[in-house]
Symmetry: C2
Subunit: 215 residues, 2 copies
DNA sequence: GTATCATAAATTGGCGCCAATATTGGTAAC
DNA sequence: GTTACCAATATTGGCGCCAATTTATGATAC
């Protein structure tokens, strides 16, 4: 019956339920297609019914879960077409500000990026899936920030969640994770060398990588 | 006391409250800064308390209204910086697929666009603010559709709502409305002439126009 | 006359109950 | 033995009440 089994050992939960469900979807704890029964979530996250409903409504607005009236909510099944399209959008947005990123890069910001890239590498070895995921986010966020468009940074963060509903499959092989880590450093190199074209090339490659991989 | 006065003569309302509030914000009936008291909205749209709250929560997620805990919700006050940034994002996204639009344009699609452009012109004279707004949306949607990226069309529709919180000020002079109408036709001309560069130039001009205008 | 505090009114927001609907399991008929 | 129908159960989702917090008002002291 209950589609949600795994109990994340919760202490006294103070955080927002939406975030918690989001994390569990992003980390693959709630696989695509899973029916999210309100009673299960209520118990799983130790919260009330209205909180669960608000979270589900928000996530369905974000297209992360699908809502079938009188049937319930289930984790969205990402289709390949949409995934490719969103990838294209990310390439468009992130390469568009590459020139600005090169222009705005200082030795300070490059040092910060190096730190974040290294932190990502560390988390590959020692961190949880979530920590690893967030380390990746932090790096890209800091990089994008150099573009000088805060709204763009936020937007990319948003649409990033829109297809990475299957993040596990993206990062499933260690080889690919390590390749991503190396690419981070290569991007910083391009930034240091003030080579905007190379940076664009690397960004496009980096984003499309998970999608273009043969099954 | 009550910040919301105007009563839109409602019959038996069957539609979603979120859409109704959204429309009233977009059409300027609920100006920026207006406090959205739950009781007022309840009466205004003839709906229940939970419906109002769900609508307000959704709109705050979309950044259209701001939420102050224990104080309430109010229509978001758009700041110039964000407006400029979102404008830049739109230019990036919409010009990025200009080549594809030129490549995919058929005589059929051009005829459809002509129709929509003419419909926009009609609504300038005879339509309501909402009809006019939606006619504009329909034209740009159809144009973007030629880019072949459905996710991008949806995304642009979304971020479009994010700054046009002051649509009234955008369209306040008839001269500018008519200029927009002419630009629509010029875009179609460029499409017909297979001139992608000119199309990009026109799109950038068309989007930035409302923002660049001197006060 | 003005500032401050206490009291009262209003508004937000959390919580639980109950009706409507879908699903499952059992039973009977063919 | 299989299928169709019906009853029982479980789940969703709408609705209203009440506590907590904030804001407005009026009275009192300086």
């Amino acid at each position: 019956m209950s589609e949600v089994q795994s109990e994340t050992a919760v202490g006294p939960e103070e955080r927002d339920v939406t975030e918690l469900v989001l994390q569990d979807i992003l980390t693959g704890m709630l696989p695509a297609g899973t029916w999210l029964k309100q009673i299960d979530l209520e118990r799983r996250y130790d919260c009330t019914r209205p909180e669960v409903r608000r979270a589900l409504d928000r996530l369905s607005q974000k297209r992360l879960v699908a809502h079938v009236p009188n049937r319930g909510y289930h984790v969205y099944q990402p289709d390949d077409r949409n995934a490719k399209e969103v990838g294209d959008i990310r390439v468009i947005l992130e390469t568009a500000v590459a020139d600005m990123m090169v222009a705005n890069a200082t030795s300070d910001s490059i040092a910060t990026l190096r730190g974040l890239a290294r932190y990502f590498d560390e988390m590959t070895l020692t961190g949880t899936i979530l920590e690893h995921y967030e380390a990746n986010l932090a790096f890209h966020r800091e990089l994008l920030l150099l573009g000088g468009n805060q709204a763009l940074v936020d937007l990319v963060s948003e649409i990033r969640q829109r297809t990475s509903s299957a993040p596990v499959s993206q990062w499933r092989t260690r080889a690919r994770i390590e390749k991503s880590g190396r690419e981070h450093h290569m991007m910083i190199d391009a930034l240091e060398a003030r080579d905007a074209e190379e940076l664009k090339r690397l960004i496009a490659l980096h984003i499309r990588q998970p999608a273009d991989t043969p099954k």
